[in-house]
Amino acid sequence: MSGASGKAVRETRIVTRRLHDVADAWRYDVARADGAYDTWAEVLRRADRADVLGQVKTSGLRGRGGANFPTAIKWESLPDVSPRYLVINGDEGEPSTFKDREIIEKDPHALIEGVCIEAYACNINTAFIYLRGEFALGHDRVVQAVADARANGWVGRDIQGSGFDLDIIVHRGAGAYICGEESALIESLEGKRGMPRIKPPLPIHSGVYSKPTVVNNVETVATITHIMKMGGDEYAKLGVGRSTGTRIAAISGHVQRPGIYEIEFGMTFREILFELCGGIRDGRALKFFLPGGASFQWLVNTDEHLDQVYDIDDISAKLGTTLGSGAIMVYDETTDPLLVAWRLAKFYAHESCGKCTPCREGTGWIEKVLYRMSHGQGRPDDMDLLLAASASISPDVLRAPFTQTTICPLGPSPVSAVASLHKYFRAEVDAACAHANGRARTTIQVHAS
């Protein structure tokens, strides 16, 4: 079936094939029988590092963590300094994002094979897999998988007689969302409090223990194996524009069939939500949806938004939002957008690491104001207050991608919700806050200016 986008309206299961099709793929024997490590063996046999880099470059693969940075370019900027490190960011903590978790729990050997190939390509001998603390099952399975891979000669000293050494160290986080930010993750990995570092220097120049470090997302790494298997050219044929290949979308909320969908770039949101996911549940109408996880601006039930193509660059250029971490949250007509905004703000206020003043204090303030607005105590000028307070974190509140007064993008994240309320639900918000308590002013004049 081909939809309005011209793309087939179906999943294109490349990275997620095994975890869907093979029961107990997390077991070494099962995964091996399905071809796990064949590609790694082939890469070692060919012993051509430049070829791996070339294939990944040709494939156009971009980071799947949310920043969309071209993977091959990151590798190429790795300084020739020893030791260097590879870090896999498995601290998937963004609300509604659960695609890496599927790979981690159900197909850990896909992750490890990708780590091996990437480490080989970048000539790195130590890789860290940093897993979100809450991933208890995932942690057990990755630890077991690394042990099995080591026992079977895919990881360790002189792998398959190639002379190449690779140690993989699995590290479990302690429950902080901020550790998904790569420099905070590195701090945490080093045993310190997870707080983002000042950049520059970027991790690629000075990361773990101040050594050059490549940090890649789980999905990105898992994709590399398939690029090597099918060839960069073939992979690049999938997708649209500079958004090549597939993306695992984690779709949640008021759709008939929530879950993970590996989709080829280029479908429209209408096709994804209404055909793949079966439309809005209980026969209700769509009210709004978050196209790129919790941190970016929302979209609503208009033709313009629903016919937007799932394309990293196109959505950013046209609608000022991004595909972020690959999560789509869908809300039906019964949803109070103020409550959604408040709950998101509450998450960010709780997860702010406390380093930058605007985020530490500002996210908490936004949360408090949104709380009263969403709980019947809003004041008539609260929406303007929110916009003003947000401007201290993200000076051009409505602009996307946002500017920021903070080190990392956590602080501006709840501002996306504020901006979305203002852009799409201003009348509804003002109505909800028109009468509460009868108090008109929220400003306390300290002295005459």
Binding site: S352, C353, G364, W365, S392, T403
Partner: protein, 889 residues
């Protein structure tokens, strides 16, 4: 910065445009600093010149061409062509926003806050803030305040999370005992459970806190900042002599803040120095002169003492009189007492040390290093006691050199110490055997071969690095005689380029030795023989032969050959290593005259007690361990009728028929500068006007002198206390006296090329150089059943500064005997068990602890408060002290 560094700096600069004005800066310098140096103040809270930037507070956001958004100026290194604006609407909005956010959870309890009135948050809000708040919810609450140590309290509601304190504790002090916990709006600084912020440097975090979150117990609610009067001074709690801003309110000392003296303390103080001012106002101070225990007037007391001295001089020619002490006071006091003893009484039995330091010829005659040389050294050789306990800010400087600048540390210590973890080359030396180890090291450093792999490795590292070797030479333990240290000094002095910092602890011991309070020496680093003619002309007479040092004086007292002993602030019973000898000396000597502020065991039975002024009540100069002479500030008038030591000496001299003709302390300084060869070219006025003081010998270091702004008075009132307080906030006039002359320097500063012309006492004398002949006495072998004793000093000791300061008195920990785990096991003693220790001299009981880092065969006795007499175990005649340790079970 010295004049020689300036041209190198000028060679590589980049152009940076700040608010339309193009300035030159060093590449890589931070934008916030460049702007500040050129008069553009970018508001900030977290950034501190002496620490790494962290970019937390976001107060210093600016706009920079080519950078999206608002980068913080504190983390942005400048590069050529950078164009920055600090005054745009966007920047102002960002500043407004950050301040509004900082204040939403700030309690605004300014009326009862110690910081109120000198608070950066207040000042920055006034200058850059929005003036109103739109926050109407409940503020964040914490219990307030909580004590994070015995000296520091934390109010987490006031905290703005700038990380200055946590970074200081970690980066500078090496005591990472406070940290952020929790997150978001609940982020707070906290110590770890059951682990207080017990850092020797904890007071610094109070000073650098940009709000009133951290307050110091001794100062809390004592004053309002606008009531404080300030004078710049040097701390004399130890021989580093950190620069400080001493503040009083209603004629009471209430606070000492660190002044950022680049060559010395770089803004930091230790807690003993910071809070020790309390002892000046101690209840127990003796404020009236007494004769045989009865209070008398000053004339009565001085007449009686003068009569006694006169009688003794008449009967025995003066050599039966001895003077011990003087390391506590000013250079002027030491000089006046040296002149009284040597020029009037005719005795050379004078010693400012109490047998716990190094021979004067070693201290005065070794090639000197400056503290700053540590930063540029090829290697630092540690051959001293625990610097963290004895000279805390020198510890910070060595630590910085090792940790931040990568200077190798070669360690000849017999006991673990505060720098052990940073030592790159531990040479595992047994107590008393550093001489032999140093000889091997010196041979290797001169290019010889050595069978010892550790020594060879150390020598190899040094060979690969530019710069000189700086030896930190002290007396590691009073349980061993000075000879092993002298042997080490002699060996290392033979290494080309080796220079020495003498790690003697007492506040002005170096100044006292330089001013003549040492046997065989006259003021200004000359021997009796070399300076005889010059000082005979100046003083009228000079002793015939070199006299006795402290040990000799005490032995002579005990033998009855010294009849009159003057204790110039000295307490030999507490401080001389051999208490039995000191006790016998004091029991036997005929007359004791005490010049002191407190009663002690040693002076309790003195015939005459002459109360003297203390630090804070005195002006004058002091000299630190690198030979840097700086000015003391007098902040309060003396308690009671106490007199300056130098004036007591002058009064006594007058009664003995010698009019010193000295009316003010500046006149004493000028006389010292005129007669003392090492002081040639200096004067009271020069010391006052030199920003970082004057290093002795002045003739060698004149080019380093940086003058304060002409016409500027001493004082730091216009520098906010939380910023690094500069001795002079404005740029120096010039880098040398010669330039100053053309620049309109004050007329009273001598700028003559040949300073000898200024002296009425003839041409300069060549300064004393030690011949570096090592004593040959060797260390006897240790028997297998004994442990060789190391007595380590503690910062919070039994001395007057600690014991008379209420805030410090309780900090001393109980004495403990530290041994290697293997030795504890051999002794059958468990950790914490009380054991009996016995030396040839005496015995005591003490808790035993097995400690990693202590070498087998060694016992380290950590003494602290008064009451436990390690000195009861020591025989001053023995080169080392061996202990039997017995379990008492």
């Amino acid at each position: 910065m010295t004049a020689t560094e300036s041209p190198a700096v000028a060679e590589t600069t980049v152009s940076v445009t700040i608010d339309g004005i193009t300035v030159q800066a060093r590449p890589g310098e931070l934008l916030i600093k460049v702007a500040q140096d050129h008069g553009v103040y970018i508001p900030r809270f977290c950034w501190h010149e002496r620490m790494k930037p962290v970019g937390m507070c976001r107060m210093c956001l600016v706009e920079v061409d080519g950078i999206r958004g608002f980068p913080p100026a504190c983390t942005l290194p400048v590069n050529d062509g950078m164009v920055c604006r600090t005054d745009t609407d966007g920047v102002k909005a960002a500043q407004d926003g950050v301040l509004e956010l900082l204040l939403i959870n700030h309690p605004l309890d300014c009326p009862v806050c110690d910081r109120g009135g000198e608070c950066p948050l207040q000042d920055t809000t006034l200058a850059f803030g929005p003036g109103e708040s739109r926050f109407v919810e409940e503020k964040r609450h914490f219990e307030k305040p909580i004590a994070i140590s015995d000296l520091v309290l934390l109010d987490r509601e006031r905290c703005i999370q700038c990380a200055r304190c946590t970074r200081f504790a970690d980066e500078i002090a090496g005591d990472p005992l406070i940290s952020f916990v929790d997150r978001g709006g609940h982020t707070q600084v906290l110590n770890f459970p059951d682990e207080p912020f017990a850092s020797y440097f904890s007071g610094n975090v109070v000073q650098i806190c940009p709000v009133g979150a951290l307050t110091a117990k001794p100062y809390r609610f004592k004053a309002r900042p606008w009531d404080l009067a300030t004078v710049e001074t040097s701390c004399t709690a130890c021989a580093v002599q950190c620069r400080g801003a001493l503040q009083s309110s209603s004629n009471r000392l209430v606070r000492l803040l660190g002044v950022d003296s680049d060559p010395v303390n770089q803004g930091w103080l230790c807690d003993k120095g910071r809070f020790g001012y309390e002892h000046v106002h101690a209840e127990s101070r003796r404020l009236a002169p007494t004769l045989d225990g009865a209070e008398v007037s000053w004339p009565q007391a001085l007449d009686a003492v003068a009569a006694e001295l006169k009688r003794e001089r008449g009967l025995h020619g003066g050599s039966t009189i001895a003077v011990l002490g003087g390391a506590r006071g000013s250079n002027e006091s030491a000089y006046a007492w040296a002149r009284l003893a040597k020029g009037v009484l005719g005795t050379d039995n004078v010693d400012a040390q109490l047998g716990e330091g190094l021979p004067a010829e070693v201290v005065l005659g070794l090639p000197r290093a400056q503290i700053d040389d540590l930063d540029r050294a090829a290697a630092i050789v540690l051959c001293a006691g625990d610097l963290k306990e004895e000279l805390p800010v020198l510890f910070l400087r060595v630590r910085r050199a090792a940790v931040e600048l990568g200077v190798p540390l070669i360690d000849l210590s017999a006991a673990p110490h505060g720098l052990s973890r940073h030592v790159t080359h531990p040479l595992a030396v047994a107590p008393g055997e550093q001489g032999a180890a140093a000889a091997q090291l010196a041979a290797a450093l001169r290019g010889g071969t050595t069978p010892d792999a550790a020594i060879a490795a150390a020598a190899a590292v040094v060979a690969d690095r530019p710069g000189d070797i700086v030896v930190v030479l002290g007396r590691p333990s009073i349980a061993e005689r000075a000879e092993p240290s002298v042997q080490a000094a002699a060996a290392l002095a033979g290494v080309p380029g080796a220079r020495f910092l003498t790690a003697l602890r007492r506040g002005n011991v170096h100044g006292a030795l330089e001013s003549g309070l040492a046997p065989g020496f006259l003021p200004g680093r000359v021997t009796l023989a070399a300076g005889r003619d010059r000082f005979a002309a100046a003083w009228g007479r000079v002793p015939e032969a070199a006299g006795l040092d402290a040990e000799g004086i005490l032995r002579a007292c005990a033998a009855g050959t010294v009849h009159v002993l003057v204790l110039l602030g000295a307490d030999p019973l507490a401080d001389f290593p051999d208490r039995a000898l000191a006790s016998k000396a004091l029991d036997t000597v005929g007359t004791v005259v005490a010049v002191d502020a407190f009663e002690s065991d040693s002076n309790r039975r003195a015939k005459a007690f002459l109360p003297c002024t203390l630090w804070g009540e005195q002006s004058g100069t002091v000299t630190n361990l690198e030979g840097r002479v700086q000015r003391l500030g007098r902040k309060v008038s003396p308690e009671g009728i106490a007199l300056d030591d130098w004036r007591i000496a002058a009064e006594l001299a007058q009664r003995l028929g010698h009019d010193f003709d000295l009316e003010t302390v500046d006149e004493v300084t000028d006389e010292l500068a005129a007669v003392a060869p090492a002081w040639h070219g200096a004067s009271a006025a020069l010391v006052r006007d030199a920003r970082d003081g004057v290093v002795l010998p002045v003739a060698e270091h004149r080019h380093e002198v940086v003058l304060r702004r002409v016409g500027r008075a001493l004082g730091v009132d216009d520098t906010p206390s939380w910023e690094p307080i500069k001795p002079d906030a404005r740029p120096p006039v010039s880098h040398s006296l010669e330039e100053a002359a053309t620049d309109g320097a004050p007329a009273e500063i001598s700028t003559e090329a040949d300073p000898a012309d200024a002296s009425p006492f003839g041409l300069p004398i060549e300064l004393f150089r030690w011949d570096a002949l090592a004593p040959t006495r060797t260390v006897p072998p240790r028997d297998a059943y004994a442990l060789r004793l190391v007595v380590s000093h503690s910062l919070y000791d039994g001395g007057r500064v600690v014991q008379e300061s209420p805030s410090l008195r309780g900090l001393a920990s109980a004495p403990v005997l530290m041994v290697a785990a293997a030795d504890a096991q051999r002794l059958g003693a468990s950790n914490g068990e009380t054991v009996k220790i016995t030396s040839a001299r005496g015995s005591a009981t003490v808790a035993l602890r097995a400690v990693e880092g202590v070498t087998a065969g060694t016992a380290v006795l950590a003494t602290s408060a008064a009451g436990f007499g390690a000195t009861e175990l020591i025989d001053a005649g023995e080169i080392v002290t061996d202990l039997r340790v017995e379990s008492m079970r």
